[in-house]
């Protein structure tokens, strides 16, 4: 514990890294809500359908992801070695695999089509 806590206030109220301001949190929250509302409204009311709907869903999902990373995960403020960044990149690879792989597998599924 010793080497760990030397840099921390005892109860984990870490003071050494900035953790964003009220303004950035509120902004991030509002952006998340908007990005959630857009696809819901568009799809539930059948305003977009088919491929266009897929594109809207994917784009808003990706933007949502970016918002979360910058406003809540504080990606920019990390010190070296940038483990968060490394894991994030790996995570992106996995997410891409999940999405693209699923589309590929389901698209050519002879039983479902």
């Amino acid at each position: 514990m010793a080497q760990h806590h030397d840099t921390h206030a005892p109860h984990g109220g870490d003071a050494h890294e900035s953790h964003g301001s009220m303004k950035s949190y509120v902004l991030g929250f509002v952006l998340s809500l908007v990005l959630t509302a857009i696809p819901l409204i568009l799809v539930l009311n059948d305003i977009v359908t088919g491929n266009a709907a897929d594109v809207v869903l994917l784009v808003t999902a990706v933007l949502q992801f970016v918002v979360q990373l910058f406003f809540f995960m504080h990606l920019k403020e990390e010190k070296k070695p940038r483990y968060n960044l490394m894991v994030l990149l790996l995570g992106l690879v996995i997410v891409l695999t999940i999405v693209a792989g699923s589309i590929w597998i389901m698209k050519y599924n002879m039983v479902s089509h």
């Binding site: 080497q3 760990h4 806590h5 005892p10 790996l90 999940i98 792989g101 699923s102």
Partner: protein
């Protein structure tokens, strides 16, 4: 669910279940009476239930998972008994058989292998890297209690409400409300979700611990191999478990709110579930086997008295597997009909990942080459693992040949394959680890003679049980059947297989006896009973609660071995200069919060709002309480360190 009569709530009608009811009731009464009679409630609460000490949490994981191994094992033997009596429809009726294979699979993977693995993480990793605890000790305790409550929630289903019966991965449409209207499937979802949160947090906790809390001087490439394997396993955990959580959440939404993600109608598609669940499921098998590879590496080096051959290649193999395990998932559903391109791609990725796995076998063999090998129990299990895993791996490569898999799929060939890698790899590995680190944890070794009996029973039993199943698979016997007719010609192979199953059961009993015997005739050992190489062997056994009186300064791989060599040349460590040690305080928050999770889960299972609401309030309340609790840590004085060290026979 509306309960109108007792049999809506309790499972009734089966003598096996009544027997279990009585056994559970009596055990609980016995525990309560014993705790009260010996005035041990306060002790239990202070020393164990609220502990944040990774060593004690590790012990609790091990105890819980061995109990689960017992239950999963009894389930297995019930099934094997039924399969040896093919036309008796009385022993296990088909739907009871469904309950049991589902429960067996879930328990063995999620409530036996996973927690036993977490137990070993906890017992070993902080000691191997010279840390005083994990990075987040309270979170660690919360992880344990969430696992425990999740496991209990899953386990009560067989006496209350009814077991799930859609297989260990709960494929829809069978697991949807339409085909599984009972509460069993909901117990499955909530049991796994609650313990899954714990698993994810453990993954995070150990990654941070390993990256941030190593003793000064221990560069990444100086870490012990077990620590590397834990890092790779945890990396896979944090990437894979969210997939499971989301998939089961979608299934829950289908069942609870009537959505149509995986239903047959209204645009749902069950195949999407199968696709998603295996994106977790395949990495999961690597999650549990990677730490076993780490264990074997430590043991082979120690008992060959040589440093591990090919350290760098081993690190590379472990870390690449943890990433590549994400690119093979479709080999679990070659027969689903995704077309030749998809199947060809995933067949190739599967064969490729066998390469780093195979490399490691050579690392171990070359480590042993010209070593002064001794065959104590940990080494014995390692020796048994190697041929077993090689054969299991090769049948795996056979399964990965997509066209051939149309024949093997869901047959007993598959059952034999995955039991061979799970038992021969994971279970043997964790057993080896338990035997190896047991003296570090408890301060005494386990009896060698009884251990050898258990070892041979397990090993002979294993081959007698599972080799016939490869044959049965090729003869066309499919998995998940509870009876078959005599003209299939399957009976004799099944009968032999059942004998093997019971041999393993007896092996387990020998291990229980071995533990009890070794406690009764306890022979204390010193800090380093095997001639170990890594830091955990540099401190007394059992380790003092603060682990290291002085944080070690690491200069090489196998640092303890290096220090022993220096000492042999007469170069001694400088006399210790103690400083107060900063430690986390015990806390009741994790267990209390986990009880509320249990209440919430139980409420959702029966759809009882009056239980869901207090559960949710309790969870939020404990979280809030903890956020405002600043009294979480303390210092151990130099005086107390000196006293503790002197008691452990150290020069102070």
């Amino acid at each position: 669910m509306k309960i109108t009569k007792l049999s809506d709530f309790f499972v009734t009608g089966d003598p096996l279940i009544y027997g279990a009811d009585v056994a559970i009731g009596l055990t609980m009464v016995a525990i309560v009476v014993a705790l009260t009679a010996f005035k041990r409630w306060g002790w239990l609460w202070r020393e164990w239930l609220t502990t944040v000490d990774h060593k004690r949490i590790g012990i609790m994981y091990v105890i819980a998972s061995l109990l689960m191994l017992f239950r999963g094992g009894v389930d297995a033997l019930l099934m094997r008994t039924q399969l040896a009596l093919p036309d008796s429809m009385e022993f296990l009726k088909p739907d009871h058989y469904n309950d049991i294979f589902t429960t067996h699979g879930v328990i063995m993977i999620l409530f036996m292998a996973m927690p036993l693995m977490f137990g070993l993480f906890n017992l070993v990793v902080p000691l191997q890297i010279g840390a005083r605890d994990v990075a987040f000790p309270l979170l660690n305790s919360l992880s344990f209690w969430l696992f425990f409550m999740g496991a209990m929630l899953f386990n009560v289903s067989f006496v209350i409400g009814g077991s799930p019966e859609a297989g260990w991965l709960a494929y829809p449409p069978l697991s949807e409300k339409m085909f599984s209207p009972g509460v069993g499937q909901d117990f499955y979802i909530w049991g796994i979700q609650i313990s899954g949160i714990g698993s994810l947090m453990t993954g995070i906790n150990f990654i941070v611990t390993i990256l941030k809390m190593r003793a000064p001087g221990m560069k990444l490439m100086k870490m012990p191999m077990f620590t590397w394997s834990v890092l790779s396993s945890c990396l896979t955990i944090i990437l894979a478990f969210p997939i499971l959580t989301v998939t089961l959440a979608l299934l829950f939404i289908d069942r609870y709110f009537g959505a149509h993600f995986f239903t047959l109608d209204m645009g749902g598609n069950p195949m999407m579930y199968i696709n998603l669940i295996w994106m977790w499921g395949h990495p999961e098998v690597y999650i549990v086997v990677l730490p076993a590879f780490g264990i074997f590496s430590e043991i082979v080096a120690t008992f060959s008295k040589k440093r591990l051959f090919g350290y760098g290649s081993m690190v590379f193999a472990l870390m690449s597997i943890s990433v590549f395990s994400f690119f093979t998932w479709a080999h679990h559903f070659f027969t689903m009909g995704s077309g030749a391109n998809v199947n060809a791609f995933f067949a190739v990725t599967t064969m490729i990942i066998a390469i780093p796995t195979g490399v490691k076998i050579f690392n171990w063999l070359f480590t042993m080459y010209k070593g002064k090998i001794t065959f104590e129990l940990p080494m014995l299990w390692t020796m048994a693992f190697i041929p077993c895993f090689v054969v299991g791996g090769m049948t795996g490569v056979m399964l990965s040949v997509a066209p051939a898999d149309f024949q093997f799929h869901n047959s007993y060939f598959l059952i034999a394959h995955f039991h061979q890698v799970l038992i021969g790899g994971v279970v043997f590995g964790y057993f080896a680890g338990l035997y190896y680190w047991w003296p570090k944890v408890f301060g005494f070794k386990l009896n060698e003679k009884l251990g050898r009996w258990a070892f041979w029973l397990w090993n002979i039993g294993f081959y007698v049980c599972f080799m016939p199943q490869y044959v049965l698979g090729l003869m066309g016997m499919t998995r998940r059947v509870s009876s078959y007719s005599w003209d299939t010609g399957w009976w004799s192979w099944n009968f032999v297989s059942t004998i093997g199953g019971f041999l393993m059961g007896i092996g387990f009993l020998f291990q229980v006896w071995q533990i009890l015997h070794s406690i009764k005739f306890m022979k204390r050992v010193k800090g380093d009973p095997w001639g170990g190489r890594t830091l955990e062997w540099s401190i007394p056994s059992p380790a003092p609660f603060y682990n290291f009186a002085i944080t070690p300064k690491v200069e090489g791989r196998d640092d303890w071995w290096r220090r022993k060599e220096l000492a042999a040349q007469g170069i001694q460590d400088p006399p210790p200069k103690y400083e107060p040690i900063h430690m986390p305080k015990n806390s009741g928050t994790p267990i209390v919060m986990s009880v509320f999770w249990f209440i919430l889960g139980f409420g959702f299972v029966f759809d009882w709002l009056w239980l869901i609401i207090p559960g949710a309030i309790g969870i939020a309340g404990t979280m809030l309480y903890h956020s405002f609790n600043y009294d979480t840590d303390y210092y151990v004085t130099v005086d107390e360190i000196k006293k503790t060290e002197a008691k452990a026979g150290r020069v102070v």
